[in-house]
Symmetry: C2
Subunit: 179 residues, 2 copies
């Protein structure tokens, strides 16, 4: 692969002998590890996949619940007055059209309701039912327990530090993504 940055590994031959400045330049311009970010991404993805598949499996086996439904209910649980579909889709980071069928299935289960916003008849407001709230509070407790168990080899300090660093990463991602 050709160098795009204009930087290239410096060899001793590039460097006039006897100059301290040039010695430092060698260090400063040392070929950077081009794969640092890739490695971080792959590791992040592995961790996310491991947690996700574990949670998915336990939701299914212990509670006959799927992860997308759980995620949707989790968002509604914190909003007693319900959420518009578009807000829900932003928070869940899934496409808008995805939610229509997902909400339909949760309505069929009796866990959520869908009503038309009185002020804006374009908008649908989705809300957790009493039954949904009851079920979810049980799910949520189990869910937290699973996570505590899965991360059991990390100290509270490590967890907090990781959370902090990921906040920084998150800021960079939001800042640097296109539009």
């Amino acid at each position: 692969m050709p160098e795009k940055t204009g930087q290239r590994p410096h060899s001793a031959a590039d460097t006039p002998l006897g100059s301290f400045d040039d010695v430092e330049a060698i260090v400063r311009l040392e070929p950077r590890d081009q794969k640092r970010e890739l490695r971080l991404w792959l590791r992040l993805l592995t961790c996310a996949n491991l947690i996700e598949s574990e949670i998915r499996q336990r939701l299914r086996i212990d509670y006959d619940m799927t992860l997308p439904r759980f995620d949707l209910m989790a968002q509604l649980y914190r909003e007693p007055d319900g959420l518009r579909l578009s807000d829900l889709s932003k928070r869940m980071m899934v496409s808008n059209g995805n939610l229509t069928a997902l909400v339909d299935r949760l309505i069929a289960d009796g866990y959520v309701s869908r009503t038309t916003d009185t002020n804006d008849r374009r908008a649908a407001v989705v809300q957790l039912t009493k039954a949904g709230t009851l079920i979810f509070s049980q799910l949520a407790e189990a869910h937290e327990g699973w996570l505590r168990a899965l991360m059991g080899d990390l100290s509270p300090v490590q967890i907090q530090s990781l959370t902090q660093d990921l906040a920084q990463l998150k800021r960079s991602l939001i800042h640097r993504r296109q539009d």
Copy 2:
């Protein structure tokens, strides 16, 4: 929610006055933050989602390529002799049946080939074609660039530290998951 751990918040009433040991016990048994692990998971998930949707979008717009296909090719790229479907499914952390159709589509694109293992006729060996290798090497370079840009607000040290900490998390997850 009832306490399951047997621990509960200590109040002054629990503590005989005038004992240093008991004062320390208050600190030691201070009600732990029950949501630390949940917060870490949610932040991890947010970061993963942000990166994934960005990569997905760019693959589609710039290269008419989907993320699952890219991921599959990425695995094969590092294995010039190809991989069995079952190994591929383990590495990609997706279900076995998922790959059948995915490989079919990549074969239709001309990017991979599927042959029967000569020693074990149950096994299918999937391999990147010449065209697939060529395309992927271009994709991979762009992909690395996107990641570098997305993480541009983090210093190399931060990236490496995050990568390290995630390695620790990964170990815990593997160690603690069921079976």
